[in-house]
Amino acid sequence: MTSNTTVSKCLTGRKDKQVESFWSSIFKQFRKNKLAVVSFYVLLVIILACIFVPIFSPYTMEQTNMQEKSLPPSAAHWFGTDDIGRDLFTRLFVGGRISLGISLAVVALECVIGILLGTLAGYYGGFVDGLIMRIADIFLCFPFLIICITIVSIFSSGPVTLIVTLAVLSWPSIARIVRAQILSLRELEYMEACEALGISDSRRMFRHLLPNVMAYVIVYATLGIAGTILTETSLSFLGMGIRFPIPTWGNLIQAARNPAVLDKYWWYWVPSGVAIFLTVMCWNIIGDALRDAVDPKMKR
């Protein structure tokens, strides 16, 4: 049969230029934004540091040393030590692991819930749509921080509670985006062709519609990570996030609540402040650039 050779030709051809279409044009567009490219590399460095610094550091995050407490930055302790002599450089990146990890997990979970419910609402419309979107409206009405604090103080404040709480509180926005896109895509003739061909609902939703909304989801998720880092930080700062002694960026910067620390021990809180600032900035710039690349019409 000729087809076997054709299939293989197809599959090899696929790699070099066939898939180019949509994603590669987004990528090209993205690369034109120099600031976004720089942000991407900065973020990469931060992420790599969060992964590798705790591995290679001679200190651990819990290791105290009363002889070396509250030391300013030095060759031995690059970002100094805290009031019980823990190495702040190590703690900063362990904190980064937790803060970034939690944010990624929250956004991932939020996307799964939001995509699923948004797709169902947009695809089926009618009663299903009404029900899901009313529930979404209710969730959007909640005063976010207050509910977070309530839930976290009722249950324990472990990472799982935190992740689930944040994700469950923030899926409605992504569900709305997905639903709106699906509503407009649903009317296109290729979806009608699916109906005429007898393609199943699940395939229509997940193979035909979803790939067309993924770009928007990715944009939202990127911006969402920045937002979640800030939320996690605020919660930790309020003492409602991950509890001591586990460091997070929020827990570290919380040291600045003490006026004496704010005044005299700047190395307790400046590095984590800078890390939060840089990371959030980078995610936001990347998200903005992706949005412009995905949909030039959305550009302000």
Partner: protein
């Protein structure tokens, strides 16, 4: 091709089909009125024949085609495909029927999903209906059909954006024909294409129809295309089928003033025809299908309209075998000269 036994098998029978779209408005989105997109349309298509549907924009051609395939619910009436009422079929039966009835759309851009490669666009229904056992068998079928439709095997893994409009329409045709359907609705399949490509696609459709013994409901506003491809022709006006008959009956001896107007507006290169035919210029615009005129819907624009036309709606009269007209002149209730 077809012998006399199969010749008279009615493949599709549309019986008094009505499709109204509700218009909602006001505070509670209540139904305010209806768009009468398709109103009491009846016709039959025999196996292996092509019924051309012509009419102005907005007269309900697309809606008719979609309703006939049950892509949208009907308001009233029946559609029989091989003596089965398609609106009475359960989910499973309908799914089986889907493989027998296909549609090719007007816009080759919006009718192909940009995120799927061509082999998947064409082959997914084969997999869905269990018509192929595995991926390589699917690929064989896909390559077979795209070659028949004038594309190359190596194009099978490309994405729609890598094709021109005419090629995309070939993909759409391949997608519809890969399931071996018996009946295909072609909804203005060539209108969106360049004139030079139109004839290629028309020829492809005609070739496929003859080879595979397909039955078409061929929707178009281009009379020359309809004349080329059809066996029967139906003329629609504001949701009604105002005239229906064999191609020659419609083109040579049209009985409805609207058909005459359409024919006289179409360009022709036949000088004998040019000399003999009377030109009918229609007054005014097509009225809204939300509030169609009383009586005969065409009376507001008809050059022969009389009082009766605005009061009484004309019945469907068979003026000669297989030739039906909705006009008071055809039924003899009024005469053209009486004006």
């Amino acid at each position: 091709m077809s012998d006399t036994a199969t010749k008279h098998e009615v493949l599709l029978r549309v019986d008094d089909l009505v499709k109204h779209f509700p218009i909602r408005g006001g505070l509670f989105k209540q139904v305010k009125s209806h768009v009468r997109a398709v109103d009491h349309v009846s016709f039959e298509i025999e196996r292996g024949k092509v019924l051309g549907i012509v009419g102005e924009s907005g007269c309900g051609k697309t809606t008719l085609g979609r309703t006939v395939l049950r892509l949208t619910p009907r308001t009233a009436g029946k559609v029989f495909f091989k003596d089965k009422d398609i609106f009475e079929q359960g989910k499973g039966n309908l799914l089986k029927l889907r493989t027998k009835m296909q549609i090719i759309f007007q816009d080759p851009y919006s009718s192909l999903n940009p995120r799927l490669p061509v082999n998947e666009i064409i082959g997914e229904a084969l997999v869905q209906h269990g018509m192929v056992k595995n991926k390589s068998e699917m690929m064989d079928r896909v390559i077979d059909i795209i070659e028949k439709c004038g594309l190359f095997p190596e194009q099978a893994c490309r994405y729609p954006h890598q094709f021109s409009g005419g090629q995309r329409q070939r993909i759409c045709i391949a997608r519809a024909l890969v399931l071996n359907p018996e009946f295909v609705v072609c909804d203005e399949t060539v209108s969106a294409l360049d004139v030079s490509i139109q004839s290629q696609i028309i020829n492809l459709l005609k070739e496929m129809q003859e080879h595979l013994g397909l039955t078409y409901l061929f929707i178009s506003h281009d009379l020359s295309v309809v004349r080329f491809i059809s066996d029967q022709v139906g003329v629609m006006y504001l949701g009604e089928l105002v005239e229906y008959g064999e191609k020659n009956q419609i083109f040579n001896t049209p009985r409805h003033p609207y058909t005459e107007a359409l024919l006289s507006a179409a360009p022709t290169f036949d000088f004998a025809e040019l000399r003999t035919r009377k030109r009918i210029i229609l007054k005014g615009d097509i009225p809204s299908p939300v509030n169609p005129p009383s009586g005969c819907r065409f009376h507001t624009r008809c050059p022969f309209a009389q009082e009766l036309c605005s009061i009484e709606s004309p019945e469907d009269i068979e003026v000669e075998p297989g030739h039906r007209v909705r006009c008071h002149m055809a039924s003899g209730k009024i005469s053209a000269s009486g004006h």
